[in-house]
Symmetry: C2
Subunit: 336 residues, 2 copies
Amino acid sequence: MKKKITIKEIAKILMVSVSTVSKAMNDSPEISEKTKKKVKELAKFYGYTPNHIAVSLKNQSTFNIGVIIPDIQNSFLAEVLKNIEITAKTKGYRIITFFTGEKSKEEKESLKILANGMAEGIIMCPSEETFVLKEFEHIKNIAETTSLVTFDRLHEELNYNSVSVDDDQSILKACAHFQETQAKNILFVSSIGWLSVGKTRRKTFNSFIENHTNIDGEVIEEHEMDDLRKKIEERITNKELPKIDAILGADIESTLIANAAISKTSLKYIDEISLIGYVNKRHNELQYPQISYINQFPEKVGEKAVELLINSLKDDSSKIKKEVIKTEIVVKDTSK
Amino acid sequence: MKKKITIKEIAKILMVSVSTVSKAMNDSPEISEKTKKKVKELAKFYGYTPNHIAVSLKNQSTFNIGVIIPDIQNSFLAEVLKNIEITAKTKGYRIITFFTGEKSKEEKESLKILANGMAEGIIMCPSEETFVLKEFEHIKNIAETTSLVTFDRLHEELNYNSVSVDDDQSILKACAHFQETQAKNILFVSSIGWLSVGKTRRKTFNSFIENHTNIDGEVIEEHEMDDLRKKIEERITNKELPKIDAILGADIESTLIANAAISKTSLKYIDEISLIGYVNKRHNELQYPQISYINQFPEKVGEKAVELLINSLKDDSSKIKKEVIKTEIVVKDTSK
DNA sequence: CTGAAAGCGCTTACAG
DNA sequence: CTGAAAGCGCTTACAG
């Protein structure tokens, strides 16, 4: 493999100084057109392009935004990521993405690398393990010297610019929607009872049921997918217990499982049972029936996160902003 | 926001030299335990961590692998990415991911940045636009100075280490599977007729049909999802034309659409019609019915790609290797 | 055991 | 218009 050519070598070949080459490559008005042409031609011939690492070190700026994502497979996070990238690009930044696999250790690593010269600011969704351990020191440390925006998952110790989604409201809206359409007994299903977001969603559901005497609720939480499926099937076909007329899925997986269970037991949507949950939008559009879902507007989350970060990059002293994106129930084929 | 502290400042505070601080931080045996302790304590106090950019520049090595992915939303690519990361980590490398959105321009940008100091080698899936334009110069240029592994999409001009999937074979296997189960008339559906991979899959299908006189085939290609759905529905319910007894989906989207069409028209799987296609494995497992699918083993693709790259990093002169992963038909609920 | 010096590949204020 | 010098934040061979 050929070695990469440097400015120094080009300078030597052309018998000019390193500064002249550098200025010529950067189209400095100090340099004559003739010299510029000569330099650029040789640079092209040798395939020279400036070493980004050196440029970044010298300029103390990278135009990189670091992005930390817990899980690539999570379609909400993937969509947010996509929109972070699109928005960043329009503002002249590129993004460098690290994935943590929901692990605190990887999160620390990623933060450290990004903060130490690789990126000017960081947009992150903290990993689940960080919440479980309740250890936020590594994030706080980084935030002392680097602009930081968190998204999706909140914690009171994380007092930085953030973009989140009104998750409670979405659960309440779904419940209210069921209530309006005369549901009497809602089944809340979840495969993420152990996740902080899963806990909040369940609590919100429970509080709705407690506050509304004309509607009943039940909860099935189960991490193991096959068990979850079996429990849901058993419950919705059980004639001895009160009839379930609506299911609320607390996450994409449990929503799909509930849909599969309904389809397997041949219950009829709307007439016999309704379903609202979280979905992968892209997939849902291609399915029949399409599941009624809670839209969390990942595009808005991504866009806002970039805006907040770039603002704080420009004005260090600006106040902390906590944006909350409003969710919406999108009615498709599985509910009235 | 606090400024990041540097080695120089720590040296000044402790009244020692910059070299001593650097060596102490790196646990050099040249430095006394006492000094090490002093330095490390102060470093900790000030939250000092070495600037990665500077270290990379100095050491001329980053332990970064650059990864270029055309589309985050593509679940096959997302799984490959995940496994690239997992494998890279076990080998002591981290990955820096760029997304191109299937655009040639972004691909050029990403390659340039990664190759110019940010990464030691690159694993990439070339963008669709690159294939459409048949412009591979930017990739070839990079490959002259940087170790490169391509995956999934092949082209004769891209003569580098590569990992791909025996795509033709998978289509032939699916056809053969249908033939064995007594299908007489296979419908090939595709939403990616314009993509190179879509063209290959269709050609392979056509050649199978031509070579097998006891089985007929038809093709529906349509980029617009709603139109695709309508055309499939019309065709499978049309009693005047020969009955379709098997559908082969050429991509995830068309497979889902075919499944939706079958479900909408209430045709019975296996008895009346069969379906094999490409799926998002994770989702498919949660669905009912589960679609029979072509497994492309994204884990193997990711793992192999990293291995090839690291080998060529270690031994520059090693021969070009072209790995081909064998696909497998996984029979689920939609075929015999 | 500690430090001065050179250098990684660049950019830029300054001098000529 | 061109070039020498300093410096971005580090590491390391070498001298003491």
